[in-house]
Structure formats: structure tokens, C-alpha cells
């Protein structure tokens, strides 16, 4: 990693952390709308990324035009998502329950597989799975609380920010032995 990449990673993590903390301590309707806007913006970026990917790389690939078409469709989808700021929060919560429960179950099964078949490291996987299941249960328990979706989203952001921050300080150069 270059110094620039490290600095970029640290700054981005700190921004994520700041936004997550803000949402966590000030859950409100305007904050919820900001989250929807962020999600929509994320999709816009994904669409644009696909289009840029086509022009920089996929145009050299056999069948690469499909990437261009997908980019345009995602971009359209992003615009539709942006217009859905008034969707009842319960749907967002149901979505979060589904995502976390599924991810948790998959991680726990893979932890089991790792433990049984290769005697490899499994505790971290199991921990991730357990955290996901707990988040799914939390969504379910607090489904009537209006700010649950926002708080769960904030926790996810905090976790991602922490991982990125730790990564920024990792040693990445490979030492060549002659």
C-alpha cells in the first residue's frame, strides 16, 4: 500500500465512523432519509463504476457490452431507489433481518465446516456468524422501535470502519529473500 492509499483509507474510515456515531446517537427521520440517499448514491456509483469499467477494461473482453448494459440498468435502479425515501421502515427492518440471519447462518455453517474438515481457524468465523444472528434478533425484538433500522445500520458502519482502519496499518510489502 502506498502512503497515499494508507492516508485515504484512514480518512475514509474516520468519516465512516463519524457518520455512524452521528446516526447512532441522533436517530431521527431526517437521518433515515440521509441513509436512503446514501444507499441510492451507492447504487449510482456502482452504475457509473460499471460504465467506467466497460470503457477502461470490459470493452476488450469477449461479450463485454453486457457490462455496459448492466451499468445503465443499475444506474436506473439507483434513481428509483432515491425516490423511495417514504417506504415504511418495517420493510427495511425485514430486509435487515433477512440479510443478517442468512449471513449469520452461512458463517456459522462455514465455521463448523472449517472446524470439522480442516481443523483450521474457525473461532473468528463463528464470532462473525453469532454477531449477525444477534443483530437479526435485535431487529426482530425492536421491530416496533422506529429507529432500530438506523441503529443497526450504524453498527454495521462502525464495524466496517474499524476493519478498514486496522487494515490501513497493516504491513503489506513482501520481503524478498535471496
Amino acid at each position: 500500500m502506498t502512503v497515499y492509499q494508507r492516508i485515504k483509507r484512514i480518512l475514509f474510515s474516520l468519516c465512516m465512523l463519524a457518520v455512524a456515531l452521528f446516526f447512532f446517537f441522533n436517530p431521527s427521520d431526517p437521518a433515515y432519509k440521509i441513509v436512503v440517499a446514501i444507499l441510492s448514491l451507492g447504487l449510482i456509483i456502482a452504475g457509473i463504476k460499471d460504465i467506467v469499467f466497460y470503457f477502461t477494461m470490459a470493452r476488450h473482453m469477449v461479450g463485454g457490452k453486457m457490462i455496459l448494459i448492466q451499468g445503465v440498468i443499475i444506474f436506473d435502479f439507483a434513481i428509483i431507489t432515491g425516490s423511495l425515501a417514504n417506504v415504511p421502515k418495517i420493510y427495511i427492518l425485514l430486509y435487515l433481518i433477512g440479510v443478517h440471519a442468512f449471513s449469520g447462518a452461512v458463517e456459522i455453517l462455514r465455521a463448523r465446516e472449517a472446524k470439522n474438515t480442516v481443523a483450521g481457524p474457525w473461532k473468528m468465523k463463528f464470532f462473525h456468524g453469532a454477531v449477525n444472528i444477534i443483530l437479526a434478533i435485535a431487529c426482530l425484538v425492536f421491530i416496533r422501535q422506529s429507529n432500530t433500522a438506523l441503529i443497526i445500520y450504524s453498527l454495521g458502519l462502525m464495524y466496517s470502519a474499524a476493519v478498514r482502519l486496522i487494515d490501513a496499518f497493516r504491513k503489506t510489502a513482501f520481503v524478498v529473500i535471496e
Binding site: M57, A58, V62, G120, F174, I177, E178
Partner: protein, 366 residues
């Protein structure tokens, strides 16, 4: 390539090159161990994680595909299984640097890095010879795919036909790809398992020859297909011919390592050495079977008149784990780990010095 070639055929090549039975077994074990030395295994026996030469499926599923994750994957797959043919290759049509960097990691035989790999093994323990033979052999089997996740390089499509000798020419049969990893490939009906199509450039599904399934690993296979990077030009891959070249190039390389040749010259094959057994070797290579271990083993035992012990991954685990810390480097696995780290460092350094950051930074040890 599979255990049939990396273990048993490598044993045969080493023995023909002049190594003793015991030395040939050590080389063969090391060549095959490249396909088993994962970080999971290294953690288990408390070996150096930097020496990993492959990743198991579970590890790959956990791999991140951001720039650091990609570097980590490339550092394992490019040096040991998809050695780049030309780090300074250019495309006729103008393309971005980002594309070119991936294009330059396409594997193929007789590149400068193969030469460096073989030269690096000279004067080193047998474990390094085995590692070099694995790498050399894979440049033939895995040609035209890159050891980094890439849709634009490694993808394949429905234009994929198996070729069967028919008189003077070949008859073709379209290959059907399925995604059932639990079911063995159906050779009679040309039904093979491959990785799922995923449109993301950097997904692990687009690593190496995953999209072409195990076809590159079968010595009998002949096929034509459209590589994603080939500007709509088809490639005809003739594995029987390529595997024969791999076998005879290994013999030549090991004779060089033993000091019988002054230099290792690319595109040179010791065909004279295999002349007495040519038809036998061709027969093994061309036989349609999922794994040719038994045939190679029988051939090897005829060559040396000794019993070739079956490959067992954990043969040297106890020796390594029971050795005191300061003596670990002198154990069989200790020498393997050191050889793997040296080879990996050389390849990463060459990629880095070519201005390609896909394998990350390298720095010389002080």
C-alpha cells in the same frame, strides 16, 4: 495439473533426469505439496504463513477482493500456479494500464520467469527443485489464464468445444458446463464442472481457469474456446502435446539443475531422454480418465524398479512440529517453506519491478 502429473510424472521425470529413487521421491513430494501448503495448514503446524503456496476453497471464499485482498491472492496464485509469460506484453489495440496489468499476468510456457524459476532452484535443496517443477509444469497446463481474479481475462463463454481425433482431423462436441462440485466430471458426455459466472471483475470465481473447469488439468483434453482477452480469436488447446512438452522440459530443467547443462535455454525439450518410452508416455497422457496416477506410478516403478510410496500430505509434519525452533529450517518442510518464500519473493519482485502493482510491493531483506 493434478497429483498424477505433479507427483508421479514428476517422479518419473526426476528419475530420467538422473536423480536417485529417494531424491526423485523428495522432488515429487515437494512438487505435489505446492497444491496443499495453505495458510490453514501452516497455522496448524505453526509454519510461516508467508510460505503459503495455495489457498483452499474455504480460504478463497473468505478472501477480500479490495486491492489488498487481490494482492494477497495474486501473490499465491501467480508465482506457483499461473506464472506470467510476459510481464512487459503489449496489446495491439490501445488499452488502459489497469487492463494491461491484468493482461500481463496471463500464464504461459517459456517466459522469462520460467527461466528465472529454474535458475533459482539450482544449487538449492531438492524441495526447491520440486517447487520449480510444479511451476514449470503448470505454465503448460494453465496457459492463457491469469493467477489473479479477472473477468476480462479469465472468463469463457458457450464457445467451448472438445476435440476428438477422427481420421486425419478432429470431430467436435460442445462442452456442457455445470456447477455441481460434488459430482465428478462426466468424460463420456463432455459434461464438466466450472465456476459460476459472476459479472464482478475481481470475484474469486474469475480466478485462473475456474471458468474452464478442470479441462486444463486433464492431460488427454483437446479443446477450442474463446478466451475473454483474445479479441474474438479462438484458441485450440492441445493438452497431450503440451503435457509431453512439460514432461520433457522438466527433464531438461532438472538436468540443468544437476549440472549437466551450462545454461537453461527456453523452448528446449529433452526428447531424446524419453525416446525409449515415448509410446508408453503418450498412451498415459492420452488416456481419457479423471486421474492418471496409477498409470504414471506403474511407469515410474518400472523405471526405477522401486516402489513409489503413495503421496501422503502429512509425511513430514511430525518432523517439523517436533523440531526445536532453531532447527526447523533444516527439516524437510523447513526447506520447502524457505524455497517457497524465496520463489514467491522473486516473482513478486519481478511483477513489482515491471511497474505492475497487482502483487503489491516487495522489498529486499536487509
Amino acid at each position: 495439473m493434478q497429483m498424477d502429473f505433479h507427483y508421479y510424472a514428476t517422479y518419473c521425470a526426476a528419475f530420467i533426469a538422473g536423480y536417485s529413487h529417494e531424491e526423485s521421491l523428495d522432488i515429487a513430494y515437494s512438487a505435489q505439496f505446492v497444491d496443499h501448503c495453505t495458510r490453514t495448514l501452516l497455522s496448524k503446524i505453526k509454519g510461516p504463513l508467508n510460505a503459503a503456496t495455495t489457498q483452499m476453497q474455504l480460504e478463497m471464499m473468505d478472501s477480500r477482493t479490495d486491492s489488498l485482498g487481490l494482492q494477497d491472492i495474486t501473490r499465491i496464485w501467480s508465482p506457483f500456479h499461473f506464472l506470467p509469460r510476459d510481464l512487459y506484453a503489449v496489446k495491439e489495440k490501445k488499452c488502459s494500464k489497469q487492463y494491461l496489468n491484468k493482461y500481463r499476468l496471463i500464464c504461459g510456457p517459456n517466459g522469462d520467469l520460467v527461466e528465472k524459476t529454474v535458475e533459482l532452484a539450482k544449487g538449492r535443496p531438492l524441495q526447491s527443485v520440486g517447487i520449480a517443477m510444479h511451476v514449470l509444469a503448470d505454465t503448460w497446463a494453465h496457459a492463457n489464464f491469469a493467477g489473479t481474479p479477472s473477468l476480462v481475462i479469465n472468463n469463457t463463454n458457450y464457445v467451448f468445444y472438445e476435440l476428438f481425433p477422427d481420421g486425419e482431423g478432429y470431430k467436435e462436441k460442445q462442452i456442457k458446463f455445470v456447477h455441481r462440485t460434488s459430482v465428478p466430471d462426466d468424460l463420456d458426455n463432455s459434461v464438466y464442472t466450472n465456476s459460476l459466472y459472476q459479472r464482478s471483475e475481481n470475484t474469486i470465481m474469475n480466478l485462473g481457469h475456474g471458468r474452464a473447469g478442470h479441462l486444463p488439468d486433464y492431460s488427454f483434453a483437446r479443446y477450442r474456446y474463446l478466451p475473454a482477452w483474445g479479441d474474438y480469436e479462438e484458441i485450440v488447446k492441445d493438452n497431450p502435446s503440451d503435457y509431453m512438452k512439460a514432461f520433457t522440459q522438466m527433464i531438461y530443467a532438472m538436468k540443468f539443475i544437476r549440472g549437466e547443462h551450462d545454461a537453461f535455454t527456453k523452448d528446449t525439450y529433452d526428447t531424446d531422454a524419453v525416446e525409449p518410452w515415448l509410446s508408453r508416455i503418450k498412451e498415459i497422457i492420452e488416456k481419457r480418465q479423471l486421474i492418471a496416477s496409477d498409470d504414471w506410478k506403474a511407469f515410474g516403478e518400472e523405471l526405477s524398479g522401486k516402489t513409489i510410496t503413495d503421496y501422503s500430505m502429512d509425511t513430514y509434519f511430525d518432523e517439523y512440529t517436533n523440531s526445536p525452533e532453531e532447527e526447523k529450517d533444516d527439516t524437510f518442510l523447513g526447506r520447502f517453506f524457505l524455497g517457497a518464500t524465496v520463489h514467491k519473493g522473486m516473482v513478486i519482485d519481478e511483477i513489482f519491478r515491471s511497474g505492475n502493482m497487482l502483487a503489491g510491493f516487495s522489498k529486499k531483506k536487509d
